[in-house]
């Protein structure tokens, strides 16, 4: 039985802009850091497979994988692109190692959001071309609609959603990898402009640039590469449906099903008890609550209360988004899942500085692919084999 471990991580960013570096140079820096972290592994010889996660329209190139090998050390090596979030890249690396044909797999994802001049138009370009796109408008109206339904069905209040922003931005101040940490008050969030009723401006994560590279290894290889392996106990991923009209607007079903798959492999039957903290996708503040519930960390409709009562704060009983989440770190596009994994790894290694959660043994990371998808990935990590 071969276990899979994360043996090296490297992160550049996340920053609002990175004008001094091309996306290639950004990737090179993060990769060098990750390889150093993994006992100076040489990608030219010691890495079996490279997995990159990217979408053409977020980069501005068709067939983006053309432009990635050199800076990762993968020229004339075995690399490919998964069109998905970086956490799906982790799931792919997990499967590759489990085939027992490969020992070391590198996963990369980045965001160069500052290079995209028409980001919202590109998000809108992801809508169904026949049924949704002709309606026009800023695509985030979908989030407004979903938040509306979610609050209606669960009784979650606007204050509870706003509290997520306060918590996450505050956590981000302690995170050197975060772009938008700040001390803001509940009132400031509640008074911010309503953009897509009832979604307010400060409840929407702002894009940021950055790159995260991780090195994964099989049990045998991991021994030589680190003293502090973080084991991938289980992964799950799921696509509910691309059709806005038929996806569940109240419950993040894609997360529930992905979590079921991950918990099964990780042998977790009581997530609240057996997991110590969670990094969940908070592109919009209400999404954090929706995702907490879908991860079965509490009953539907209860996540708002947990937040209000400070249970999900950094010093609470079950910290959620100790990194500051995307609201605090910045939205790293397809690297957002990697932002979550990065924090989970740092926490489990005891390297989270002033954000450190004491005695953390099992961490949960979850990602969503954003509007207009109902696709998510979940990973359970632990420092105990």
């Amino acid at each position: 039985m071969s276990e899979v471990a994360i043996v090296g991580v490297g992160c550049v960013g996340f920053r609002p802009i990175t004008p001094e570096l091309s996306y290639k140079e950004l990737m090179f820096e993060a990769a060098v850091k990750a390889y150093e972290d993994a006992e100076g592994i040489n990608p030219r010889k010691d890495v079996d497979v490279f997995v990159t996660c990217a979408e053409d329209y977020l980069e501005g190139f068709s067939i983006f994988d053309e432009f990635v090998p050199d800076q990762l050390g993968a020229a004339l090596r075995h690399l490919f692109t998964v069109s998905g979030d970086g956490m799906l890249g982790l799931a792919t690396a997990y499967m590759l190692i489990k085939t027992r044909q490969f020992d070391t797999v590198v996963v990369e994802a980045h965001s160069k959001a500052s290079d995209i001049l028409t980001y919202m138009d590109i998000v809108a370009f992801g809508l169904d071309p026949i049924f949704n796109r002709p309606l026009g408008g800023h695509p985030y109206y979908v989030a407004g609609m979903e938040m509306q339904r979610y609050m209606h069905d669960t009784g979650t209040t606007v204050e509870q959603c706003a509290q997520v922003v306060v918590k996450n931005k505050k956590n981000a101040i302690e995170n050197p990898y975060a772009a938008y940490g700040s001390n803001i008050t509940l009132d400031q969030v509640l008074c911010s402009d309503i953009c897509f009723h009832p979604l307010k401006k400060l409840e929407i994560s702002t894009p940021a640039d950055g790159c995260v590279v991780m090195v994964l290894a099989s049990e045998n290889a991991a021994e030589k590469l680190t003293n502090n392996p973080i084991w991938v106990k289980g992964v799950g991923w799921c696509t509910e449906t691309p059709n806005l009209e038929t996806h569940d607007w109240t419950r993040a079903e894609y997360t529930r099903l992905a979590a079921e798959m991950a918990y099964k492999t990780a042998k977790i039957s009581n997530p609240w008890k057996e997991i110590d903290f969670a990094e969940v996708h908070d592109l919009f503040a209400y999404k954090e609550l929706q995702h907490i519930e879908a991860l079965k960390l509490c009953e539907y409709g209860e996540a708002g209360k947990l937040t209000e009562e400070g249970i999900t704060s950094l010093d609470g009983e079950f910290p959620v988004n100790p990194s500051g989440g995307l609201l605090g770190m910045g939205y790293g596009l397809e690297a957002s899942g990697m932002q979550k994994l990065l924090e989970a790894v740092l926490q489990l290694r005891g390297e989270a500085g002033s954000r450190q959660i004491l005695d953390a043994e099992v961490g949960l990371a979850q990602a969503w692919r954003g509007i207009p998808t109902a696709t998510g990935v979940v990973a359970v990590l632990s420092n105990v084999k």
Partner: protein, 171 residues
């Protein structure tokens, strides 16, 4: 079961029917605009092109002189550690002659494009550019010596097109 299947799905349409609006269609033009940071290596490359020069980076480990310049040697996977100018002359590695414009209409004058291995860069360090000042495209040969023809300094902006084309060096 290829041999056992009688009907393969798919209903073919005539392109002209689509163009003439006889088929229900939804049209959309995406707004996809990007401004890529050129970064360390390419920023310098573009600045030097404005000066009428071609610059390369060097890797002391493998000894290569690389154009286009890059801050990492992809062979050795180490940062490149030097900058050096290379000559704007070279040799044709391969070429082709295009008779079609981007919209598939026929060109009166064909466009000759080539990969030019630059002298004083490492072996095989080619860049792609057009070949000009050729009366008959059949004159172009593999291994032909060529030289860059630059735009006058006041017209250069810091782009690969600051070189108008490469012309054959006729002895």
């Amino acid at each position: 079961m290829s041999a056992k299947i009688k009907n393969y799905p798919g209903e073919a349409l005539e392109t002209k029917d689509v163009k003439e609006g006889k088929v229900p269609t939804e049209k959309f033009r995406p707004k996809a605009k990007f401004a890529w940071s050129a970064g360390i290596a390419m920023s310098r490359f573009l600045e030097e092109l404005k000066n009428g020069k071609i610059i390369a980076t060097t890797c002391s480990k493998c000894g290569r002189i690389m154009v286009p310049p890059r801050i990492y040697c992809e062979k050795c996977y180490t940062p490149t550690d030097g900058w050096t100018y290379v000559r704007d002359t070279g040799v044709i590695n391969t070429y082709s002659v295009s008779f079609l414009a981007a919209d598939a209409s026929r060109l009166k004058e064909p466009i000759i494009v080539a990969i030019i291995n630059l002298d004083s860069a490492s072996e095989g360090m080619g860049i792609i550019h057009r070949i000009g000042e050729v009366k008959d495209w059949k004159e172009v040969k593999f291994g032909m010596k060529v030289k860059a023809v630059w735009k006058p300094p006041e017209e250069r902006v810091g782009a690969i097109t600051d070189i108008k084309y490469f012309k054959p060096i006729r002895e």
